[in-house]
Amino acid sequence: MNTLPPEMEAALAAKQKHRRELAALPYEEKLRILLRLQHLSDAIRQTRGASARAWPLDEKTLLPMSSAHRS
Protein backbone atom coordinates (compact mmCIF):
# COMPACT_ATOMS: atom_id res chain seq x y z
CA MET A 1 0.00 0.00 0.00
CA ASN A 2 1.31 3.43 -0.92
CA THR A 3 1.34 5.91 1.95
CA LEU A 4 1.90 9.61 1.55
CA PRO A 5 4.26 11.62 3.73
CA PRO A 6 2.49 13.62 6.45
CA GLU A 7 3.16 16.90 4.69
CA MET A 8 1.41 15.63 1.57
CA GLU A 9 -1.49 14.26 3.59
CA ALA A 10 -1.84 17.65 5.26
CA ALA A 11 -1.71 19.46 1.92
CA LEU A 12 -4.39 17.20 0.43
CA ALA A 13 -6.57 17.60 3.52
CA ALA A 14 -6.26 21.38 3.26
CA LYS A 15 -7.26 21.24 -0.41
CA GLN A 16 -10.29 19.16 0.41
CA LYS A 17 -11.27 21.56 3.20
CA HIS A 18 -11.00 24.47 0.79
CA ARG A 19 -13.10 22.66 -1.83
CA ARG A 20 -15.83 22.06 0.72
CA GLU A 21 -15.75 25.73 1.74
CA LEU A 22 -16.11 26.68 -1.91
CA ALA A 23 -18.95 24.19 -2.32
CA ALA A 24 -20.81 25.85 0.56
CA LEU A 25 -20.67 29.34 -0.95
CA PRO A 26 -23.87 31.02 -2.13
CA TYR A 27 -24.59 30.37 -5.81
CA GLU A 28 -24.05 34.04 -6.68
CA GLU A 29 -20.51 33.93 -5.25
CA LYS A 30 -19.83 30.76 -7.23
CA LEU A 31 -20.93 32.61 -10.38
CA ARG A 32 -18.43 35.38 -9.63
CA ILE A 33 -15.66 32.81 -9.17
CA LEU A 34 -16.73 31.14 -12.42
CA LEU A 35 -16.44 34.48 -14.24
CA ARG A 36 -12.92 34.92 -12.88
CA LEU A 37 -12.02 31.37 -13.96
CA GLN A 38 -13.34 32.12 -17.43
CA HIS A 39 -11.26 35.30 -17.65
CA LEU A 40 -8.15 33.43 -16.47
CA SER A 41 -8.78 30.76 -19.05
CA ASP A 42 -9.29 33.40 -21.75
CA ALA A 43 -5.96 35.03 -20.89
CA ILE A 44 -4.28 31.71 -21.62
CA ARG A 45 -6.39 30.94 -24.69
CA GLN A 46 -5.62 34.33 -26.21
CA THR A 47 -1.87 33.68 -26.00
CA ARG A 48 -2.60 30.88 -28.49
CA GLY A 49 -4.61 33.17 -30.71
CA ALA A 50 -7.95 31.73 -29.59
CA SER A 51 -10.90 34.03 -29.00
CA ALA A 52 -12.28 34.99 -25.62
CA ARG A 53 -15.25 33.01 -24.36
CA ALA A 54 -15.90 34.46 -20.93
CA TRP A 55 -19.51 35.42 -20.32
CA PRO A 56 -19.91 39.19 -20.77
CA LEU A 57 -21.43 39.65 -17.32
CA ASP A 58 -20.53 42.37 -14.86
CA GLU A 59 -18.87 40.66 -11.92
CA LYS A 60 -20.65 42.84 -9.38
CA THR A 61 -24.17 42.80 -10.76
CA LEU A 62 -24.00 39.52 -12.74
CA LEU A 63 -25.93 41.32 -15.47
CA PRO A 64 -24.87 41.57 -19.14
CA MET A 65 -22.26 44.30 -19.59
CA SER A 66 -23.21 45.39 -23.09
CA SER A 67 -25.54 44.86 -26.01
CA ALA A 68 -23.57 41.65 -26.66
CA HIS A 69 -26.08 39.73 -24.54
CA ARG A 70 -28.01 38.16 -27.36
CA SER A 71 -26.72 35.77 -29.99
Binding site: Y27, L34, A54, W55, H69, S71
Partner: protein, 163 residues
Amino acid sequence: MKATLAILNDLDAHGIFRRYAMGAMFYVEPVATYDLDVFVILPLSRGGLLTLTPIYDALRERGYQPRDEHVIIEGIPVQFLPAYNPLLEEALEEARTVHVEEVSTRVLRIEHLICVSVATGRAKDRERTRLLMEDGHPDVNFLAKICTRHHLPLPAKNGEFSL
Protein backbone atom coordinates in the same frame (compact mmCIF):
# COMPACT_ATOMS: atom_id res chain seq x y z
CA MET B 1 -27.71 35.42 -14.44
CA LYS B 2 -31.08 36.63 -13.20
CA ALA B 3 -31.89 38.06 -16.62
CA THR B 4 -31.22 34.63 -18.16
CA LEU B 5 -33.32 32.90 -15.52
CA ALA B 6 -36.17 35.34 -16.13
CA ILE B 7 -36.25 34.29 -19.79
CA LEU B 8 -36.25 30.61 -18.84
CA ASN B 9 -39.10 31.23 -16.41
CA ASP B 10 -41.00 33.05 -19.16
CA LEU B 11 -40.61 30.08 -21.53
CA ASP B 12 -41.76 27.73 -18.78
CA ALA B 13 -44.77 29.91 -18.00
CA HIS B 14 -45.77 29.90 -21.68
CA GLY B 15 -45.55 26.09 -21.86
CA ILE B 16 -42.65 26.04 -24.33
CA PHE B 17 -41.23 23.34 -22.11
CA ARG B 18 -42.63 21.75 -19.00
CA ARG B 19 -40.27 22.24 -16.06
CA TYR B 20 -36.60 22.99 -16.38
CA ALA B 21 -33.74 22.64 -13.95
CA MET B 22 -30.03 23.25 -13.62
CA GLY B 23 -27.30 21.28 -11.94
CA ALA B 24 -24.04 20.68 -10.26
CA MET B 25 -22.63 24.09 -9.42
CA PHE B 26 -25.25 24.48 -6.72
CA TYR B 27 -23.59 21.69 -4.77
CA VAL B 28 -19.84 21.75 -5.48
CA GLU B 29 -16.95 24.13 -6.05
CA PRO B 30 -17.11 26.32 -9.17
CA VAL B 31 -15.56 24.55 -12.13
CA ALA B 32 -14.61 26.37 -15.32
CA THR B 33 -17.30 25.98 -17.95
CA TYR B 34 -18.52 28.10 -20.82
CA ASP B 35 -22.13 27.06 -21.10
CA LEU B 36 -25.15 26.67 -18.85
CA ASP B 37 -26.82 23.28 -19.15
CA VAL B 38 -30.57 23.43 -18.66
CA PHE B 39 -32.52 20.18 -18.50
CA VAL B 40 -36.06 20.38 -19.86
CA ILE B 41 -39.12 18.19 -20.31
CA LEU B 42 -40.26 18.77 -23.89
CA PRO B 43 -43.66 18.25 -25.42
CA LEU B 44 -43.48 15.51 -28.06
CA SER B 45 -43.74 16.47 -31.70
CA ARG B 46 -46.53 15.03 -33.83
CA GLY B 47 -44.19 12.24 -34.88
CA GLY B 48 -43.48 11.40 -31.24
CA LEU B 49 -39.95 12.80 -31.41
CA LEU B 50 -38.21 15.09 -29.00
CA THR B 51 -37.34 18.37 -30.66
CA LEU B 52 -35.85 21.63 -29.46
CA THR B 53 -37.45 23.53 -32.35
CA PRO B 54 -40.28 25.05 -30.25
CA ILE B 55 -37.70 26.39 -27.78
CA TYR B 56 -35.56 27.88 -30.53
CA ASP B 57 -38.66 29.39 -32.20
CA ALA B 58 -39.82 30.94 -28.92
CA LEU B 59 -36.35 32.35 -28.26
CA ARG B 60 -36.10 33.78 -31.79
CA GLU B 61 -39.40 35.59 -31.16
CA ARG B 62 -37.80 37.11 -28.09
CA GLY B 63 -34.69 38.17 -30.04
CA TYR B 64 -32.32 35.30 -29.12
CA GLN B 65 -30.86 33.36 -32.05
CA PRO B 66 -29.64 29.75 -31.78
CA ARG B 67 -25.98 29.28 -32.63
CA ASP B 68 -24.82 25.68 -33.07
CA GLU B 69 -26.10 23.87 -30.00
CA HIS B 70 -26.45 27.00 -27.84
CA VAL B 71 -28.61 30.05 -27.51
CA ILE B 72 -26.95 33.06 -25.89
CA ILE B 73 -29.54 34.41 -23.49
CA GLU B 74 -28.58 37.65 -21.76
CA GLY B 75 -24.86 36.95 -22.14
CA ILE B 76 -24.89 33.27 -21.16
CA PRO B 77 -24.67 30.41 -23.71
CA VAL B 78 -27.49 28.07 -22.73
CA GLN B 79 -27.63 24.48 -23.89
CA PHE B 80 -31.00 22.79 -23.54
CA LEU B 81 -30.81 19.10 -22.68
CA PRO B 82 -34.10 17.25 -23.16
CA ALA B 83 -35.19 14.62 -20.68
CA TYR B 84 -34.97 11.49 -22.81
CA ASN B 85 -35.39 8.74 -20.24
CA PRO B 86 -37.36 8.01 -17.05
CA LEU B 87 -34.42 9.02 -14.81
CA LEU B 88 -34.25 12.52 -16.24
CA GLU B 89 -38.02 12.89 -16.22
CA GLU B 90 -38.11 11.86 -12.58
CA ALA B 91 -35.21 14.22 -11.81
CA LEU B 92 -37.05 17.15 -13.36
CA GLU B 93 -40.35 16.34 -11.67
CA GLU B 94 -38.59 16.29 -8.29
CA ALA B 95 -36.29 19.29 -8.85
CA ARG B 96 -36.05 21.79 -5.99
CA THR B 97 -37.03 25.43 -6.25
CA VAL B 98 -34.25 27.82 -5.24
CA HIS B 99 -33.68 31.54 -5.60
CA VAL B 100 -30.72 33.04 -7.44
CA GLU B 101 -30.50 36.82 -7.11
CA GLU B 102 -34.10 36.77 -5.90
CA VAL B 103 -35.28 35.01 -9.07
CA SER B 104 -36.94 31.64 -8.65
CA THR B 105 -35.37 28.75 -10.52
CA ARG B 106 -35.08 25.00 -10.20
CA VAL B 107 -32.14 22.75 -9.51
CA LEU B 108 -31.98 18.99 -9.79
CA ARG B 109 -31.59 17.17 -6.51
CA ILE B 110 -27.98 16.19 -5.98
CA GLU B 111 -28.92 12.51 -5.80
CA HIS B 112 -30.50 12.70 -9.27
CA LEU B 113 -27.48 14.60 -10.59
CA ILE B 114 -25.22 11.83 -9.34
CA CYS B 115 -27.36 9.20 -11.05
CA VAL B 116 -27.43 11.15 -14.31
CA SER B 117 -23.62 11.38 -14.20
CA VAL B 118 -23.34 7.66 -13.45
CA ALA B 119 -25.70 6.80 -16.29
CA THR B 120 -23.81 9.01 -18.77
CA GLY B 121 -20.48 7.55 -17.69
CA ARG B 122 -17.91 9.65 -19.56
CA ALA B 123 -14.62 10.50 -17.85
CA LYS B 124 -15.98 13.99 -17.17
CA ASP B 125 -19.10 12.48 -15.59
CA ARG B 126 -17.01 10.20 -13.39
CA GLU B 127 -15.16 13.28 -12.13
CA ARG B 128 -18.48 15.05 -11.54
CA THR B 129 -19.74 12.02 -9.63
CA ARG B 130 -16.63 12.13 -7.47
CA LEU B 131 -17.09 15.83 -6.70
CA LEU B 132 -20.78 15.43 -5.93
CA MET B 133 -20.25 12.40 -3.68
CA GLU B 134 -17.27 13.86 -1.81
CA ASP B 135 -18.36 17.46 -1.43
CA GLY B 136 -22.08 17.57 -2.04
CA HIS B 137 -23.35 15.59 0.97
CA PRO B 138 -25.97 13.48 -0.82
CA ASP B 139 -28.63 11.54 1.09
CA VAL B 140 -27.11 8.12 0.51
CA ASN B 141 -30.31 6.23 1.31
CA PHE B 142 -32.29 8.32 -1.15
CA LEU B 143 -29.50 7.94 -3.70
CA ALA B 144 -29.51 4.17 -3.29
CA LYS B 145 -33.26 4.01 -3.97
CA ILE B 146 -32.88 6.02 -7.18
CA CYS B 147 -30.00 3.81 -8.32
CA THR B 148 -32.04 0.67 -7.67
CA ARG B 149 -35.11 2.05 -9.42
CA HIS B 150 -33.10 2.95 -12.52
CA HIS B 151 -30.75 -0.06 -12.47
CA LEU B 152 -27.61 1.95 -11.79
CA PRO B 153 -24.62 1.08 -9.61
CA LEU B 154 -24.44 2.95 -6.32
CA PRO B 155 -21.24 5.04 -6.32
CA ALA B 156 -18.84 4.63 -3.44
CA LYS B 157 -18.14 7.53 -1.06
CA ASN B 158 -15.20 8.54 -3.27
CA GLY B 159 -17.47 8.56 -6.31
CA GLU B 160 -16.13 5.42 -7.96
CA PHE B 161 -18.53 3.09 -9.70
CA SER B 162 -18.53 0.33 -12.34
CA LEU B 163 -21.11 0.18 -15.11
